[in-house]
Symmetry: C5
């Protein structure tokens, strides 16, 4: 039985012993190179390019159009640092972006809102859920997003910008931030569907042939649900905070979309909780089915043994070598004793059946 | 053992990857055709007709009378869309109406209130509870209701309008909305009664002859209760929000009716919780009764075996072929040994009885 | 094993499908006839009479004195209806009075306060707790009380009015309502004492001779406690609401009495919770004592069997019919083998004792 | 097994059926005579005397100095009544003082604050915790305290007054009330230490030799903790209410001492909760250790039996009386069969060892 | 099995029976000598010295620079007392500093803030977590810190002051207090990592070879987690109170750092809760794996026994000494009966395999 590495559970918020605000990348290095892309758009048009150095993004800061800078890969501390300087981000924010062991959270600095959340993906090969950290900074005319590696969850948003699908080009950066968050939350459903299939498979196995392996699988699912839960629960409060619209950065028209997303988050949480209920119900069924099976074995075997024990005793009696045992001399002694044995066996079977032990 | 499809538990709030507000019908197509009916009434009179195209309903929007448009069947996206345009409904609302995997909720747009809830029905054949989504839009002079299929729960309300029974014709659209919600909540009691009968049947089986099938049945009931609970719990908050009367659309005179309905909802929740308590009590009884039964079997059988083991040993001793075994030559050796065996058996039985093992 | 009818748990709030406010008596008809009594008093004097028709009560409504109308028996809908009209009670209130499946609750209409609660009584014969619904309407100069059958819980209050005992004659209708509620709450202690005795009896049985019957009894007590709890918990909030004194109908001087009653209610709830704790502790003890008993049986029996098995084997060896078995010819072979058997038995017993299995 | 009398759990708040405010002493009569002591002090001096009749205390009421009247023993209703009249205490307060089955609580009448709490003591002989009720009335220049019997917990406070130790003589009656409460809370730690020792002893027994007696002891400790908990939990809210300092009777300078005491109360509660955790952990260990022990017995015994069963079969085969059994005639048949038996036994032992069953 | 001394759980807040504010050192004496160090700094420069007598620190109180007095070792009551006098600390604060059994807490006296918390360290030899109490007093221009023994957790902060690393020299005493708290919280992660390793080791043992020792280890870890939890939970509220910034002593610029630390605290709590979940999952696995193992033993052994019992019976039958047993005389009787026995054995094996008991 192999558990997820429990080491993962100790999430260091920073390199211990360093002063707060020191920038160090903490976590696995998941991407080889860093990819920086910029999209700049308004209702009239849009511009998109992949830049080699972060400085190329800075001119967009001045334009009144919505600017979206996306950075895939976090191991180049210097890039994050320059970006932070240019956009006037607090050093603690940069520290949080670089440290991929954050708990989902929202921090509202008047000039910008900082959001950390977890993107989940299901690794079909390892059969486990992977979590990747996504950070967003929403300013008055820009959104900066950070991912641990190149991913495709945001592609659909890019598409909508390119093709002016929906209202995205007509709305401000807050709607863009919403669209990105929504893409992440939407993705949870895909992961949960995989989970659902896994649970169903385990259930079918549980019914057909429960083995110790089934048990371990159920325990693994249970543990993974725990970790999914930890990524998802804080989201509720996070989106609720956004939706309350206390920040001037969120337009009122975006509010209803956030409320909608909030409902989806509740649904994700509900589903996770149902899964947990189902899994613990399965554990109960497993245990009682194992014990039922064992009981069935023991019962039948003990019954067999019990029937033969008195018979063996009778045979033992007539195997004794006493000189004077009149029965031994009878012509029909042997036949008689076989009949007696048969009757004893039948009586016991009747008794067992009457007691419903058979 | 067959569980409800767990796939159901992953409720997709929308087709993933589409921009919010895209109208797609999500869920099973439960009705073949769409039926649209309109009722228009005030204290003086009423008008009722079934219309072929949704446009026929629009004139009623202008009248000062209360208009109730009911739509059974959700698979015709274009109809919903036209209705939405005409009544100025937000695209996200339309999306929610079309997606039958919503969690019960209330959203208050100043001009109208949007309510989603679940209608439960007990399928006697499949012996399972079915949930159908009902959406309501309450405006200043209209109520629009959406059902997944043609049903008869609202017939009683229609009757009251036709016959001016009760106060419904004297009240506004808020009372109509209340009447419709009330019909749904009332219906829960019918479903819960069926549940009660099912639990009672399982209980009787549990007492008479608990088998593994009983266990599975109990687990099924438990799981169904979980899903009923999920439909019912959010209702509490929903009706409470309505009743607090913060919306201008709810007249004060309707408040008391809502409070009454709130009490009924609490009662539904109470009943569901009691059922859950009863079911888990039944699980405990099942487990301990199975183990008691097993213990009883084991005990009696082991006692039988234990009595005969020493006797068989004695018989074995006198079955040995030693040349010099004086007892074997005794005239009454055989009789004596039978008596000794009898005494041993009686002593053991006495001991067992004294220890209360018999 | 006989459970309380689970059907009881589905409390219909009204006849399904009827418009709200339709008056139908729901519940068992517990009384044959309806008895209506009126008491009218102030500090100077009092008047008491049993009336045949409800109309005789109406004149008292005008007097400035405190009027208490008590109605035992709920099956005469017309009486309730007339009373409701005269005292201007909302139809939903009347519906609630007639439906004896209410949850305890308080509703504050400015002109009057409506209270529903449960009176518990212990049926010594059936050994179960019975719940009866009591409704109170407290107006500016009157209290109307409704019971399901003629009872004697309020007799003590009547006595105090007749004899001007305590301060009841000096106080207003709010104090009368308090006195009636207090009589009901007081009565809970009597029921709980019976419960305490029942639990104690079950405990003694548990210690002396735990059988499956004990288990079922414990489960029954547990279930009854659940239902008592449901009657008692809402009371807490109810009295707390009364005591906060937001209604103009409650005098400040009555406040302290309500606070006192609130404490009593907390005590009732505490006691019920303690009982629940005790009962579940008893279940644990039962289960472990049953399993200990089983273990003891199995252990001793298995030990007996195990000692004899090797001995029987030795006897078997010398029962073989090989032609050349030198020991069989020895003069003291038989004695020797008996000694060997004895030694084997003693060694095994020593081993078992050393291992503390004996 | 002897449980605490469960009857105790039903705490009657008053003699049922009496009007509120009727003075009756409820509870065990724990003291033979009533002892009344008065201390009167200010920064300059102090006066202390034991009085025979309560009237001797009344003159102190007028003095501006702090007056502390302590009454040990509650069965003389008339004394309490006179005191109540003199100090203008509400009849319900007197009722509460006399009824020793109160839940700890605080009631703030503007002119005075009434506090009920439980003093715990550990009875070394009966090995149980005893609860005694202490009531305090704090007025603008007096404190009246009531105990069920003569105790020594307050002696230390008396000492401090006599010797002007600490700041007690410089402070008002609120500080005196604090000092008395503090003495009671301090005393809890002594009781909890005893509890700690008891739990430790049970733990050691659990490790050394767990018997059914250990189980019952653990259950008893668990139940006692429940009752200690009931005395302690309400204290938290009580002291918190005092400390919020809404009453004009509490000086600001006393506030910090109350906050300190509040911390102590939290510590008491924490300790009780830890004990509960420890005890339920012990129950788990007990159960699994009993079942481990049983398993060990069963395993070894079954192994012994299983080895001998095939051997006995072999012996049985050669005990058969067939005329033609060639092996029986072999010269070395007997030796051979013994060797075969030995080999079978060794193989089985090897198999068991390989399977780690030995 | 050795539990942590449960005595530890009873934390005496003070020497019972002493007036509040009496200074007594409660707890183990962990250091031999007391070490007092002073650091005094501002942006321009810093001064650091180890002083022999506490009086040498007092001059720094007047300077506008930030002064940090650190005291390692608490057994010299006189030193604490002098310090208290000089810095005008409330006697209860001094009592709390000296008593090392405090619960983490924050008290806000307008002139200074008093903070108590627990420093955890993992003792590799004893394999247990040690808690040491750290107290902080934050004034307008000074911080005083108290530790139970000389430690190195604060060295890193000293370093930052010496080398003007980070912003510490530019900020006030509130930032210093933050830095010290942060050092303690950071340290928790180190301890939790050790815990993680311990749990992982226990898990591996659980998988490889679960013994009763594993069980006890799991229980120990569970209990230690409980005590870590008690140190960590109150921290949440403590830091939250600091961060809300109601005190004038906390600068706004420090607020964001406190918020950051708050997140870390939540992470610590989350990790502890995960560990608890993991440990209780391990307990479940242990129990079911032990019972599975037992079942496997019982099953195989019982099957062996059951196969031989009928065979032994057959052998017994032909071991009987009846005079007339025709089979005994048959030429191939012996061979035939061996064949019959073989067939019976094979049939039983087939049956067992069909039933999946093998």
């Amino acid at each position: 039985m192999k558990f997820n590495k429990s080491k993962r559970s100790v999430r260091r918020p920073k390199a211990a012993g360093l002063p707060p605000g020191t920038l160090v990348h903490i976590g696995e290095k998941k991407a080889e190179t860093i990819r920086i892309t910029v999209m700049d758009y308004d209702e009239q048009g849009f511009q998109e390019k992949q830049v080699a150095s972060i400085e190329e993004c800075f001119p967009f800061k001045q334009t009144p159009t919505v600017t979206w800078i996306n950075i895939d890969g976090l191991h180049r501390v210097d890039i994050i640092e320059k970006l932070g300087e240019q956009f006037d981000l607090h050093p603690l924010i940069l520290e949080d972006i670089l440290n991929t062991e954050q708990r989902p959270k929202l921090e509202d600095f008047d000039k910008y809102i900082f959001i950390v959340l977890k993107m989940l993906s299901y690794d079909d090969q390892k059969q486990t859920v992977q979590a990747e950290q996504v950070s967003l900074v929403l300013g008055s005319n820009f959104v900066i997003s950070f991912q641990e590696r190149v991913g495709d969850v945001f592609d659909e948003v890019r598409d909508r910008i390119r093709n002016a699908k929906g209202r995205i080009r007509k709305m401000g950066p807050d709607y863009l931030a919403y669209a990105l968050l929504d893409a992440v939350v939407d993705n949870y459903f895909t992961v949960l569907e995989k989970f659902g299939e896994k649970i169903e498979a385990a259930e079918e196995e549980l019914v057909a042939n429960p083995t110790e392996k089934t048990l371990k699988q159920i325990h693994l699912v249970k543990r993974e649900l725990l970790s999914v839960r930890k990524s998802v629960w804080p989201l509720r409060e996070l989106i609720s905070a956004l939706q309350r619209g206390e920040s001037g950065l969120i337009q009122e028209t975006t509010g209803i979309y956030l409320r909608d997303m909030y409902d989806h988050t509740i649904q994700v949480i509900d589903t996770v909780e149902s899964f947990r209920d189902m899994v613990s119900g399965m554990l109960d069924i497993y245990l009682s089915s194992i014990s039922n099976k064992m009981n069935a074995v023991m019962k039948v075997l003990t019954i067999i043994a019990t029937i033969f024990i008195p018979l063996t005793f009778i045979a033992g009696v007539y195997g004794m070598n006493f000189k004077y045992m009149p029965e031994l001399q009878w012509r029909w002694g042997y036949g008689l004793i076989l009949v007696v044995m048969g009757i004893v066996a039948v009586i016991m079977l009747f008794y067992f059946r009457k007691k419903k032990w058979l």
